[in-house]
């Protein structure tokens, strides 16, 4: 077997791809994952970070709802360090129909979702930020999840099971012999190298770009990209997820995640060509603020950190190329059966919450085709980092009196934080003060998690995600990257593109403190550091 031959190649480093690689690797397959940029750059990293209980889909899509609650309960166990078990409220405002609550609760129960109607007074006590005017409240087992961490943990575990990962690697062609897919042609965007990789099975997990990949392979998958915009507030206003108890609509979910909270989303169809560069429009900002205020009035006067948008990879139902019936369920296409193209599988649709199930379905199909008879274990085997209890217990096992920075690191890395214990005090120096990311954590991400740019580091460690948006941490982290790569020139460009990317998120909400801070950042980099 040559170095560029594998059992299965997975295209796409989103959560679906990473999850599929992990599952395949755990079943003993030799795997390769490629992505044109980094992990979690598409829809995976551009959503609420909500681990659905399924309640949102209970009325309209009971099948998805049942899927969500099963996966929700599984991920609490196997991905504990990526998840905050904070529960959610579905609140009824005076302008909403309280009768919907009954339909909603019944639908939740039918789908197996625990849904307790609680007194609005109790809801206000449980979640003091909630709109005090609510006339009804239902408590459901929603969670928040850090999609970057979840994706990185899957990739890491795949690597621990022998998997290989090639990032910044664009697929330029699918190698076919007749009707059989043999491998992929790739172009490395960093080194400029063109390399071919071979495998009997190629899994298309390209999300919204899966349509282009399918095209390259000569099959047709119709994606219907729907853009969703969100606002990040600079600190946690709420500690429970707050949803509106009505038919799903715009800007009706507020999710606490790590040190921030996120309100969203909007929904609008966009052409496929625009998917790589979506921007938040002023109208969307207006909608998000005005609707968000109804969930938690304090949002009206809470500092907004960023605005961002993602593209949902919705798929047209297979027998409905017109796209009238867009499914939000999981779509796993065996192109051998569907199009007569052997060795190609497309796994798409679905949701962040159901990624593990998607990976299991895709891997089952891969194994069936390869004649491998091994059961899926991802529902019971914890991800690396999630093997033990709370961050406090994890930190106490390692350090006698853990500092706040150590506790925060444990909350991000789970048990993997033990690798940060070092005798070198410099490892404890903070690179990112807002999010308390230490030099040790950054270096680990460079060494173990395939981070090669500041943006990659941000996804893996939260560096630059705090209120200063890279003002202090970008140059510090860049120093570590330059040292690791032995190249200073490239890091200058990296800082530039990192800060541009930060500004892109600040721009749509560029007022008040966020504008003031961005201006200050500019002074620091342009006028003090001369970059």
């Amino acid at each position: 077997m040559k170095a560029n031959e594998f059992d299965v190649i997975i295209i796409g480093g989103g959560i679906t791809g990473a999850g599929t690689q992990r599952d395949c690797a755990m079943r003993g397959l030799r795997t390769l994952l490629v992505d044109r940029s980094d992990i979690a750059t598409g829809a995976t990293g551009r959503n609420h970070g909500l681990l659905h209980s399924g309640a949102r889909y209970a009325v309209n899509d009971p099948e998805s709802a049942a899927e969500c609650i099963r996966e929700n309960m599984i991920l609490r166990r196997v991905a504990a360090h990526c998840i905050d078990e904070n529960d959610g409220l579905f609140v009824t405002l005076p302008e909403d129909d309280l009768d919907y609550q009954k339909t909603f609760v019944q639908a939740c129960r039918n789908a197996g979702i625990r849904a307790d109607i609680i007194d609005p007074d109790l809801a206000r006590r449980l979640e003091p930020s909630v709109n005090p005017d609510i006339i009804g409240a239902v408590r459901v087992p929603d969670c928040s999840v850090d999609p970057f961490r979840l994706c990185a943990a899957n990739m890491l575990d795949a690597k621990l099971h022998g998997g290989q990962v090639r990032l910044q690697t664009e697929v330029t062609g699918i190698i076919r012999e007749g009707d059989t897919v043999k491998g992929i042609r790739t172009h490395n965007r960093n080194t400029g190298e063109d390399v071919e990789f071979y495998a009997p099975i190629v899994v298309n997990a390209g999300g919204v770009w899966g349509q282009e990949l399918a095209q390259i392979a000569g099959v047709k998958v119709g994606m219907f990209p729907a853009k969703g915009s969100l606002l990040i507030f600079a600190h946690r206003v709420n500690n429970m997820v707050i949803n509106r108890c009505r038919k799903p609509s715009n800007a009706d979910i507020l999710v606490p995640g790590d040190t921030v909270c996120i309100v969203g989303t909007t929904s609008s169809r966009i052409p496929l060509e625009e998917c790589r560069n979506v921007a938040v429009t002023p109208d969307e900002v207006t909608l998000l603020i005005t609707e968000g205020m109804k969930l938690a009035p304090r949002l009206a006067s809470t500092r907004i950190l960023r605005a961002y948008a993602g593209v949902r990879p919705l798929v047209s139902a297979d027998d409905d190329p017109s796209g009238r019936n867009i499914s939000r369920g999981i779509v796993c296409l065996d192109h051998e059966v569907r199009d007569g193209v052997k060795g190609l599988i497309t796994i798409t649709g679905g949701k962040l919450t159901s990624y593990r199930l998607m990976a299991e379905m895709a891997t089952d199909l891969v194994c069936k085709k390869l004649g491998v008879d091994k059961a899926c274990e991802t529902a019971t085997t914890p991800l690396p980092g999630s093997e033990e209890g709370s961050y406090e217990e994890v930190a106490k096992k390692i350090w006698e009196n853990p500092t706040t920075a150590q506790k925060v690191a444990a909350s991000r890395m789970g048990t993997r934080v033990s690798r940060m214990r070092s005798t070198d005090h410099r490892d404890e120096a903070l690179i990112c003060e807002c999010e308390q990311v230490s030099m040790g954590e950054i270096n680990l991400a460079i060494e173990r998690l395939e981070a090669s740019t500041l943006t990659d580091l941000r996804r893996r460690t939260r560096v630059g995600m705090g209120t200063c948006q890279g003002e202090f941490c970008a140059c510090r982290a860049a120093g570590l990257l330059a040292k690791a790569h032995g190249c200073i020139e490239k890091e200058r460009e990296d800082i530039d593109s990192f800060l541009q990317e930060r500004w892109k998120g600040n721009f749509p909400i560029g007022w008040g403190e966020t504008l003031r801070e961005a201006e200050y950042t500019q002074w620091v980099y342009k006028h003090v550091l001369g970059i």
Partner: protein
């Protein structure tokens, strides 16, 4: 497009632009690597604590609440309040016996007064200090303020009629130190104000301002005292009186910490409570006079206590001292003395406390004044112990510089 006209956050923590000037000016940061610094302990830490109270950092106890971070912050973040409020909200370790003793300035004063000579003798003994060091972790190097056998309140009560005869009246919030340790400062204030034709009244019943309780983990008790004091102050203010004070820390506590840390509404009294030096300085500038001696001569170095700097009122004490004929005045650069009330008494803080104060001590030695002027009693203890120079409240210096009602 909808945009936000303004944003709000508790103690303005979201206004922080991470400029780090607070950290640069934090005296603890210079000497104690265990302290995360005002930016991290304050606005950065707040975001983490809002995520999970488990991220509260016990090292916040190293903050000496000097409030220099707030003085320097260009974004009006109430950094020190944020830190103290986090300690109030999240600290789960109960205060030690020592902390109860140190914080109960009034109770200790009441107990010590009847036996003041014995207490004073005892606290001067090396043996007692070693015992307290070992058992209570109160550092053995500290000298203790002496207790006075006769309180200030009784002294002024006996002069009630005499004081009422003056055409103008003020109320005096004297604080624990004047009542239990150093009544002379109160007497000096009465002398100066009387010389300006102002009579001095006690408040109906004042209690300790509560600052020592706040910083020693006993905010509930502090709040009781605050409620009581605001009521007493309210009665004086309602009857048209200004309330003067001689301690910068008590003043800052009553004016600013009551609402921000103890949630006690002091709006009705806040603007009427002011340092006596400001009251007198403004009066003199408006044409009032004092019978200054013509044989007074002193070289005075003025140290601005941190809380005086936070009030923004150091300038009044400075101007007042410079009005005294025969004064050679040197302002000292504003640095923290390191004492911070009960902070410096604690064994774990002693070395840091002295290290923080060192630049100030050096300045004083270089100036070599006859006396150091300062509006804070705990700065006084620290500077006297650490440099051997005599420290007096500007009011006492003023009292010395005016003639003694014909006795001169």
């Amino acid at each position: 497009m909808q945009y936000q006209e303004y944003t709000q956050s508790e103690y303005n923590f979201e206004e922080c632009t991470k400029c780090t000037i607070c950290t640069a000016y934090c005296p603890v940061m210079q000497v104690n690597p265990l302290y995360p610094g005002p930016k991290q302990a304050g606005p950065d830490g707040e975001r983490l604590r809002l995520r999970d109270p488990g991220f509260f950092d016990a090292a916040l106890k190293y903050c000496l609440n000097c409030k220099r971070c707030e003085v320097y912050c260009p974004s009006e973040v109430k950094v020190a309040d944020l830190i103290q409020s986090a300690r109030i909200r999240y600290e789960r370790t109960p205060p030690k016996v020592r902390d109860y003793l140190l914080a109960s300035t009034d109770v200790m004063g009441k107990l010590a007064r009847p036996v003041a000579p014995i207490v004073n003798f005892a606290t001067r003994q090396q043996l007692t200090r070693t015992a307290m060091d070992v058992t209570l972790r109160i550092d053995r190097h500290r000298t203790f303020p002496e207790y006075s056998a006769r309180g200030f309140e009784g002294w002024l009560k006996r002069r009630k009629k005499e004081q009422a005869a003056f055409p103008e009246q003020v109320a005096y919030y004297h604080g624990c130190y004047v009542n239990y340790n150093y009544p002379q400062l109160g007497k000096d204030l009465v002398k100066v104000l009387n010389a300006m034709g102002v009579g001095v009244q006690l408040l109906e019943k004042e209690q300790c301002c509560g600052i020592a309780l706040i910083v020693n983990g006993q905010s509930a008790q502090a709040r009781k005292k605050a409620l009581h004091n605001v009521e007493s102050l309210g009665k004086a203010v309602e009857s048209g009186l200004k309330v003067v004070t001689t301690s910068s820390t008590c003043t800052l506590t009553i004016r600013d910490e009551y609402p921000s840390l103890l949630e006690v509404d002091n709006a009705a009294v806040r603007d009427s409570v002011l340092m006596a030096t400001r009251f007198i300085c403004e009066k003199l500038e408006q044409g009032a006079t004092l019978p200054f001696r013509n044989d007074f001569h002193k070289r005075i170095a003025y140290h601005t206590p941190c809380h005086m700097a936070r009030l923004g009122w150091g300038i009044f004490s400075q101007r007042l001292l410079q009005m005294i004929p025969g004064v050679e005045f040197t302002p000292l650069e504003q640095t923290c003395c390191g004492m911070a009330g009960t902070y410096g008494f604690k064994k774990e803080n002693y070395a840091n406390s002295q290290a923080i104060g060192a630049p100030l001590f050096d300045q004083i030695r270089a100036v070599n004044p006859d006396v150091v002027a300062c509006d804070c009693e705990t700065c006084k203890w620290q500077i006297e112990m650490s440099t051997g120079y005599k420290v007096e409240n500007p009011i006492s210096i003023l009292a010395e510089a005016i003639s003694d009602n014909g006795k001169d």
